[in-house]
């Protein structure tokens, strides 16, 4: 189950796919690894103005919400500097099975952590500013494209 908003789930899936494409060799690895990479990109942008403590607080909250939705992040925790730790354990645990693999991004257990993080940002600073930050993190796509992506998700 993914209790994050549909629009944030859609956006999160696209972000995960983008990071997966950057690291195509890891395409078969678990979602938690790609989620950690997306979070790492967001961390750079968010820490600049919110500070590492500010970003860490947001990510910790998102992780709690994600764990309630999915077991994919069971062994993951947020370290002091705001990076995700325990991702390696998650990778090892899923080597044998297909549970939580990126290929299953369409399933409910997909990009739940990133979606919750985006939902938190939208709740706190609004969608427009959140999309602007996302656009700053992935500058090759203009903010309008993210906006139309979300609007499309809402219409469906």
């Amino acid at each position: 189950m993914n209790s994050a908003s549909l629009s944030s789930q859609t956006l999160a899936r696209v972000l995960l796919s983008r990071e997966a494409a950057r690291y195509s060799a890891d395409a078969g690895l678990p979602i938690s690894l790609h989620a950690a990479r997306v979070c790492e990109v967001l961390r750079t942008v968010l820490t600049a103005f919110a500070g590492s403590a500010g970003y860490r607080a947001l990510l910790a909250r998102a992780l709690v919400l994600a764990k309630a939705d999915s077991t994919v992040f069971a062994s993951v925790h947020v370290s002091k500097d705001g990076t995700l730790a325990g991702v390696e354990a998650s990778v090892e645990a899923s080597v044998e099975g297909t549970h939580g693999r990126l290929s299953q991004c369409g399933c409910e257990d997909g990009p739940v952590l990133v979606a919750h993080l985006l939902d938190l940002l939208i709740a706190l600073i609004g969608r427009s500013l959140t999309l602007r930050l996302v656009s700053d993190a992935w500058p090759d796509a203009p903010v309008e494209s993210w906006n139309s992506l979300i609007q499309g998700a809402e219409k469906s």
């Binding site: 500013l129 930050l133 700053d136």
Partner: protein, 505 residues
Amino acid sequence: MSPNNKVVIRKLATGVPGLDELLGGGLPEYSFNIIAGSPGCGKTTLAHQIMFANATPEKPALYFTVLGEPAIKMLRYQQQYSFFDQDRINSSVRFVNLSEFVLEKDLDAVLAQIVQEVEAVGPGIVVVDSFRSVARKSRANGGEVELQAFIQRLALHLTSWQATTFLIGEYTEGELRDNPVFTVADGLLWLHQAADRNSIVRKLQVVKLRGQASVPGLHTFRITADGVQAFPRTFGLDHQCSEPKATHLLSTGIPELDAMLGGGVPSGHSLLVAGPSGAGKSILGRQFIAEGLRHGEPGIVAVFEEMPDEYVAAARRMGMDLETPRKAGNLEVIYLRPLDLSVDETVHEVVAAVKRTKAKRLVIDSLVGFEMALAPDFRTDFRESLYRMISALTRLGVTILSTVEVEESFSSMGLSNFTISFLTDGIIRMRYVSIDGQLRRMLIVVKVRGGRHSIDMREFEVTSTGIAIGKRLQGYRGLTTGIPEPWGRSLTSIASSLGEPGGGP
């Protein structure tokens, strides 16, 4: 050196209505400024407003947050203001969090970090919020000299990098003395916020501004959805030419009253209509404004005790059409009733309306309602404020009719409860008089500055079409007390008619 060779300090528009006037034209470019005040007085909002007004992609603004309001929350709240343009975040406006630096490193490292960011971005505006956190950290380490050196180097560096800087801090007025931060600063804007009974009064002071003449004193400001708005005590009229006064006479709409005034109200004069409740002061005000509109003179009515629609409807019932000129933009009826108004704010509203409509007549109905609408703190300065207001408005060529309710006494005849009659050019006094078992109305022109006027005490009535002035009340003495008695009637005969001892048959 000729004056032409002096450096010209460019003045930056602050984007804050009224503030540029207070600053003497704007903020000196490359200046190093402090925005100080107590928590919640609007320091961060003011800094944001200035930042958004000046930041461009070529010369962006750098906003350093330091252990103050968390950046996420700051963005959450600041984006509610109309000046906050989200599209400019991270392009023209960049936020940098320095909290960890301040917590973990010394001031040299903090300075190095600021310098690094400034050199990377080349900002036109730099804000450090809250600088007090940096100063506290330094003091905790016993580093007064270290702090002074830090500020001095920071100011030097930021000015060299052609940035206009704002340090935001929560300071009390007692901290002004011997504080290195204030010594180094080129400009010091102090925001005050005080609770007075149930009202909040906000005031702004330009305590210091190097290189240009700012307007001294405390000036009211308000924070709305559009951000900070200052109301300079000069009402934005400092450079406004004065309109000549008394060039012509304005009709009140009541020919008999015009005659009593010596032909009408001299243009640019302030006329006070004083009288008890229900005497007809507001009706006279309506007739005055309606008469002006009939002659193509736009007007403003500032009401405090009834809503504009009610005011217009009451006029309609007396045959005065105020709705048509109101719709045409020749009349504005301004309702001013929040309980924490300042006179300056009110006058700014009225001056703006006067400029919008090119008004020639203004009715203030009433001064008592006006005073009640003010925050208690401003009521103490009401007389002084009225003086400034009347001066400012008459300088614009506006002729003012103000009504004031007088508590009626049947022994004397006061002109107003504010001892403001000296502020006005003319005074009309209405009062009730007890004659022949009736409570009748009487009107007197007490004063017309520089002109001859009637000294008659005339009876008047309020009819369905307005005020109708009757004949002079003759044959009575003690009219001004409200309990006149016929001339020639002896005290003995009065006592007799009352059946009191001492009275003859």
